[in-house]
């Protein structure tokens, strides 16, 4: 009878075999044909049939309206669109793998934060001439650009900004939205005075969402990056985090809050301000028992440090990019139609509350008469900017590195100065990698 115990020699042998297996598997993978070395993913660029990859094609809320657009296109053009989808949280990694492997072709829906990372792979077609035909707003066009070239046609352009609950503000005797940091702090204290467990500002304090601090850092004067240099760690970033810590210590913001918690608190009238994208109105009011909440939700300009400063907001939205290869021409036409056709974009707005990216679309009565959307565009999106970190494939790690340091400050494990210095060093190291 044999023994199945592993001797020291056996363990060493096993490690050796393991290492060889990994090397062998790597070699096998390297030998496999891949589209990574070529800029085109192959196939007939003139083909009428193509793929459309979008995370929204699986989501119950978005699927019907996108399928409607696809079906209308297929009927009009006599072509066939293959719908491809991955979950939102897995989308970037799946797309990177499959685009690199040559499997992804046609039109690809991208979050604007991912465009740079995908464009760097060299698989996307330049769309400068097509974009000229769309009538997109300048902010929208910029959201689809990387390295001075147009790689994405903007589908929806919005921003992440502050939403206020007018009913709670009124209750606290606040007549107008605070415009400066000082006024904002004052308003938060008034709201805290209402008692009843109110969290005046449901700001993000969990690592997963602490990237929301970037616009506040910018408000205090930190540019995040200056050319190739990371500026996190400068006096402005330290001031911003010190201020955030002050709000936390005075219980004007709460611990352990992410976007979902913030929506829940706001939805139950327990928070007067929180950060969200424009779509937050629909999401938060839908999960609230208070059916009048939607009417009380107001977009608010982010308070500035000194009167006259530009309010900061993070650009947010989606673009459609085109992969070089099979069905490229038809996919480009489809993307142009989907993102700029007036009837299509306004109908999409009506079903999903995602604002169009064209001037014509924005001026359509269905959109223009929606006060929340027009106010949002004027107060928040007009001055919104993209993150300088989006250009790096390591964007997610960069955001996490900063978030962890900010959280260390909030829980008292680190001083703002030390934490921001460390965050800046970590971000610089990630960028160099």
């Amino acid at each position: 009878m044999t023994t199945s115990g592993i001797s020291r020699r056996g363990a060493l042998r096993m490690f050796g075999i393991g290492a060889l297996s990994v090397a062998g598997a790597g070699a096998l993978g390297a030998c496999a044909p891949s589209g990574a070395s070529t800029s085109s993913n192959g196939g007939d660029t003139k083909s009428k049939d193509f793929d459309f990859t979008s995370w929204s094609l699986n989501e119950e809320a978005a699927k019907p309206s996108i399928e409607k657009i696809i079906k209308a296109w297929e009927k009009a053009e006599g072509s066939r669109i293959r719908a491809v989808s991955y979950p939102y949280n897995e989308y970037l990694s799946q797309l990177t793998l499959k685009l690199g492997g040559g499997e992804t072709t046609g039109a690809v829906h991208l979050d604007i934060a991912w465009l740079a990372a995908i464009a760097q792979m060299g698989k996307l077609a330049e769309l400068d001439s097509t974009a000229m035909k769309g009538g997109y707003t300048n902010v929208a066009l910029e959201s689809g650009m990387y390295d001075g070239k147009q790689y994405g046609l903007p589908w929806n352009t919005g921003s992440i900004g502050v939403i206020a609950n007018s009913k709670l503000l009124e209750k606290a005797g606040i007549k107008k939205h605070p415009t400066t940091i000082e006024e904002f702090e004052g308003a938060l204290r008034e709201l805290k005075g209402l008692g009843n467990g109110i969290v005046p500002y449901a700001a993000a304090t969990k690592v997963a969402q602490l990237k929301d601090i970037f616009p506040w850092m910018q408000t205090f004067g930190c540019t995040l990056m200056d050319g190739d240099e990371v500026t996190i760690g400068d006096d402005a970033s330290i001031d911003a985090v010190t201020w955030y810590k002050k709000l936390h210590d005075e219980k004007l913001i709460a611990s352990d809050v992410d976007r979902f918690d913030a929506r829940a608190l706001f939805g139950q009238g327990k928070a007067a301000f929180y950060d969200d994208a424009i779509i937050g109105k629909g999401v938060t009011s839908a999960q609230s028992k208070d059916k009048t909440l939607a009417d009380a939700m107001q977009p608010m300009k982010r308070p500035v440090l000194r009167s006259g400063d530009t309010p900061q907001a993070l650009l947010w939205g989606g673009v459609i990019a085109i992969v070089k290869g099979k069905g490229q021409d038809a996919a480009t036409e489809f993307a142009l139609h989907t993102t700029s056709d007036r009837a299509t974009t306004t109908e999409y707005f009506a079903s999903r509350a995602l604002p169009p990216s064209t001037t014509v679309g924005l001026s359509d009565p269905k959109v223009a008469q929606d006060t929340f959307t027009t106010e949002w565009t004027e107060k928040i999106t007009d001055t919104a900017t993209g993150s300088p970190f989006w250009q790096f494939a390591q964007n997610a790690q960069i955001e996490e590195a900063v978030a962890k340091q900010v959280q260390a400050v909030l829980v008292g494990k680190s001083k703002p100065k030390d934490a921001m210095k460390k965050a800046g060093e970590e971000v610089a190291a990630l960028i160099r990698r």
Binding site: M1, T2, T3, S4, I6, G10, R13, M14, F15, I17, G18, S21, V22, A25, G26, L28, G29, A30, A32, P33, S34, W55, S56, N58, E59, E60, A61, A62, A83, V84, S85, Y86, P87, Y88, N89, E90, Q94, L97, G101, G102, E103, D111, F260, D261, R263, A264, L265, G267, Q268, K270, A277, I279, G280, V283, A286, Q287, S288, K289
Partner: protein, 306 residues
């Protein structure tokens, strides 16, 4: 000689142990200790039980709640308004049924394939002596030593080059890669416990090696084979990352299917997700209910050698 008069003891008194006040105190103390240890044991059982069952209760409570109730702050342990709409919505979702069927197909084939291959490999490792046997055994185990994600890119490239992406074959082969090593070692351990004398006796009676394995060894190892099959089934049923990478929407299994359907860019439909999770866990629960004795028996069968 001193005569002593003693009252005769009744039957029950004779049987009763001699009681003194010290004895009574000691008995009381024993009873108290027993009560204390019982209370401690029950408290431990309750705490551990709550630890294990609370997530399941929360799953059920959320599945029966409306979205407004789910996001109520502070959360309520018992839902005040019960709704079955999350369950009825499931029945209307054809895509979820498709994911369920895919999961059943892929997990079942993975289980069968893993057991068949592992039986022959385990038997070979256990009962035959040949050059490189130990190295091969360690090679099988070595594949468990690095994270699955490391192999994902390689497997993706290999399946892509063979045109196997978006097929059941890709999913079954990739799942089997990870289930087989444990199945092989589990079954090898079970075969080790079968005495060589039994195989020799079969050989003397004229049974071929093939016949010996199928007619004598396999029936004896059946509980272990069932345990290995269950393990492989559950592993195939639960996998997310390989299923989302190697299969498209048509061939995708439940874990990525549920995530895609209910966890979106802007929000997570928790009540629907919980209802779906509850429903899709039923086949696995039923399988466990019927086969749990084999699972426990099979897992420990190779641990003691005769």
């Amino acid at each position: 000689m001193t005569s002593t008069t003693s009252t005769p003891l009744s039957g029950t008194e004779r049987l009763r142990p001699h009681t003194t006040s010290a004895g009574r105190t000691s008995r009381r103390r024993i009873r108290k200790d027993l009560l204390r240890s019982r209370i401690a044991a029950w408290t431990a059982v309750l705490v551990i039980g709550a630890f294990g069952m609370l997530p399941i209760y929360w799953l059920l409570a959320t599945a029966l709640s409306s979205p407004e109730q789910t996001f109520q702050f502070p959360p309520k342990l018992i839902p005040t308004e019960i709704t079955f709409s999350n369950f009825t919505a499931l029945a209307e979702n054809d895509q979820l049924i498709k994911y369920l069927v895919n999961s059943l197909i892929v997990a079942s084939i993975t289980a069968v394939l893993s057991v068949v291959v592992a039986t022959y490999m385990g038997y070979s490792f256990s009962k035959f002596r040949y050059r490189g046997r130990r190295s091969l055994m360690h090679l099988v185990l070595a594949s468990q030593m690095f994270p699955q994600a490391v192999l994902l890119v390689t497997l993706y490239a290999v399946f892509s080059s063979f045109g196997l992406l978006n097929t059941y074959t890709a999913l079954v082969l990739s799942f089997t890669t990870f289930t087989m090593p444990l199945c092989v070692w589990m079954l090898k351990g079970i075969f080790d416990t079968i005495p060589d004398a039994l195989l020799e006796a079969a050989s003397i009676d004229g049974a071929s090696r093939w016949r010996t394995l199928h007619s004598i060894v396999a029936p004896l190892a059946a509980p272990g084979m069932i345990a290995a099959g269950l393990f492989a089934f559950v592993r195939g049923w639960n996998d997310f990352i390989f299923a989302v990478t190697l299969a498209d929407k048509e061939k995708q299994t439940l874990p990525p299917g549920l995530v895609s359907t209910y966890i979106g860019e802007f929000q997570t439909a928790w009540p629907e997700l919980m209802a779906a999770s509850l429903v899709v866990s039923i086949p696995v629960v039923i399988a466990f209910m019927f086969l749990q004795r084999y699972l426990v028996g099979g897992m420990t069968a190779g641990s003691v050698k005769s």
